[in-house]
């Protein structure tokens, strides 16, 4: 039992190989390679404009790199559209919250189940058979996540009126609803007060430990990264400058220079 778990732990969920992404003349990423292991929390850090968000956008298909390969679950991924990548169970949150503002918390989270709902348009129109069954089944999953994130009280609230911290939590919930094989979080703690940050930290750890979800997250706050991450990759000016355990990375001269703004 123990053995199997260990073997799984070393299993690689995603391998990013030599990825280069350009926007016209700007090189947002150049020859970046790193991997993400099953069950770990992998942090991506770096100064402003380093290319961190661009990396997540490449992983979930918003950006298509000019060079490089992405291997997911042991297979080389062909060029796919973002909505197709969602079907591979890669879910994400955004640096600036991207919720469906007009919809309730419950409805927002139900959209996270979209990839599991297969009923045809006609069945939905008649609200009969498959469509109805599907709705009930998926609703159960969502309710569990709502309990997990302790947001029962706001289930029916339109997300637009919620405070920032709660919106971030709902966004996490929508991503979790997809039961992702890989969860991407772009600065989940940005803009929060200390209490909200602590809550979010706890939820991320719980998701990782209790649900066993593999997580790649971007974070600015070094302290938070040290607490959360199993391994850290550091990007600066689109290039990977360090990769390793949190304390290794923290003491790396390149990383210290990058954060202090030493010019290259």
């Amino acid at each position: 039992m123990e053995q199997v778990e260990l073997a799984n732990k070393n299993d690689i969920v995603m391998d990013i190989v030599n990825v280069t992404l350009r926007f016209g003349g700007v090189k947002a990423l150049s020859h970046v390679s790193f991997n993400i292991k099953r069950g770990e929390i992998r942090a991506i850090i770096g100064p402003n404009g380093a290319g961190k968000s661009s990396m997540l956008n490449v992983i979930n298909g918003f950006y298509t790199p000019q060079e490089g390969e992405i291997w997911f679950e042991g297979k080389r991924r062909p060029r796919l559209k973002p909505h197709q990548i969602a079907y591979q169970r890669i879910a994400r949150t955004f640096q600036n919250i991207a919720l469906f503002e007009g919809m309730t918390v419950l409805d927002n989270m139900m959209t996270g189940r979209m990839i599991y709902m297969k009923s045809g348009l006609l069945s939905q129109l008649a609200w009969w058979g498959k469509a109805e069954r599907e709705e009930t089944e998926n609703r159960l999953v969502v309710e569990k996540i709502i309990d997990f994130l302790e947001i029962q009280a706001i289930r029916k609230t339109p997300v637009g009126v919620l405070p920032y911290g709660l919106q971030k939590r709902v966004e996490l919930g929508r991503a979790l609803a997809a039961e992702p094989l890989l969860l991407l979080l772009d600065e989940p703690m940005a803009g929060m007060n200390n209490e909200e940050k602590e809550d979010m930290c706890r939820f991320i750890l719980d998701v990782n430990e209790e649900l066993g979800t593999t997580i790649a997250l971007i974070e600015h706050d070094m302290g938070v990264v040290m607490d959360l991450a199993d391994r850290v990759v550091v990007i600066d000016h689109g290039e990977k400058i360090a990769d390793g355990q949190p304390d290794e990375v923290r003491n790396d001269q390149n990383v210290i220079d990058a954060y202090l703004g030493v010019s290259h």
Partner: protein, 327 residues
């Protein structure tokens, strides 16, 4: 008392017209919310749907004139009438096909373009559809009759006569139109609130990136909203066409939808409905009370003036979201 009752009768008639305005405005709003495209062709879609319905029903051979001119033949219809239900079904299918083609041939290639470019594309679409409809079914005015009762309703006249001592003249066509439009709106609301696809529609209206990230295909959603807009156009086309004949002026209904949109807000479905009703009732009442004093025919401009005044005070419309510039 008599004047009051008369005003009430006028209002009811305005209400019925307003429902049709609301329907056309609804078509605009649906597409605008889902794709940010202001669909100039919505009015022409009403005309095209009605034309196709009449053409099929009366057994007109598509492109009859063109064929006759090119081949020197003298074809004049198939010589039969298609059963109304079948004609309706085929027309609906054509509107769905149109939606699919619009996505394939236009939207797909213009995603992420400036909204003005998309707007221009729909202007192109409008003129194309107008010409294509004429070419296919002929440009003459056609009478549309699919068996909806028309003429003053005796029941209403007698009932109101008993209650108020004054019989209201209400057209049976208007009554049917109101009921159908109301059912359509209720149906659409239920669909968008309670079905998976409806939820996806609302999601896309709120945030494209987030919608993609949960696995919603924008292109599929666009086909669906254009299909719904096509269905709405068909229904508006049936009632308007029955009322005033199927001819070019049908597409001008859309011009009445513009002030409705200014009043109701481009992104609000309740706004489209309330706006449509307000304009419908407003223009009839205004013409009834003030029209004769200032020489009549106020119906042509009343809606626009109201919309303009409204724009000055509430540019986002009755229910539209407040536009706050991000700085």
């Amino acid at each position: 008392m008599q004047t009051l009752l008369f005003a009430l009768e006028v209002s009811i008639n305005g209400f019925m017209t307003g429902i049709l305005y609301a329907l056309v405005a609804l078509g605009f709003v649906l597409i605008f919310k889902a794709s940010g495209v202001f669909n100039y062709a919505q009015g022409v879609m009403v005309l095209f749907a009605a034309l196709t319905l009449v053409g099929l029903q009366q057994g007109i051979v598509p492109f009859e004139h063109l064929i006759n001119n090119l081949l020197g033949t003298s074809i004049h219809g198939f010589g039969w009438n298609m059963p109304t239900l079948l004609a309706l079904l085929l027309t609906l299918l054509s509107m769905l096909l149109l939606a699919w083609l619009v996505e394939r041939l236009i939207l797909k290639h213009l995603v992420n373009q400036n909204p003005v470019i998309l707007f221009m594309a729909t202007i192109g679409l409008a003129y194309f559809l107008e010409g294509f409809g004429d070419l296919m079914w002929g440009a003459d005015v056609k009478k549309l009759d699919i068996g909806i009762p028309v003429g003053i309703s005796d029941t209403v006249e007698q009932a109101t006569h008993e209650w108020f001592g004054y019989g209201f003249f209400i057209d049976r066509l208007d009554i049917t139109a109101s009921i159908v439009a109301a059912l359509l709106v209720i149906g659409l609301t239920i669909f968008s609130q309670f079905s998976k696809t409806g939820r996806a529609l609302r999601a896309v209206a709120d945030d494209h990136q987030a919608a993609l990230s949960v696995g919603i295909s924008l292109r599929r959603i666009w086909v669906i909203v254009w299909s719904i807009a096509g269905l709405v156009a068909l229904i508006a086309g049936i009632f308007w066409g029955t009322k005033s004949g199927v001819q070019f002026s049908l597409s001008l209904v859309a011009l009445k939808a513009l002030p409705v949109l200014m009043l109701g807000g481009l992104t609000s479905i309740p706004g489209a409905i309330v706006g449509g009703l307000l304009i419908g009732v407003g223009e009839k009442l205004f013409d009834f009370m003030i029209g004769s004093m200032i020489g009549g025919a106020t119906e042509n401009w009343f809606a626009y003036v109201v919309a303009l005044v409204f724009l000055l005070f509430r540019p986002q419309g009755l229910f539209g979201e407040k536009i706050i510039e991000r700085v």
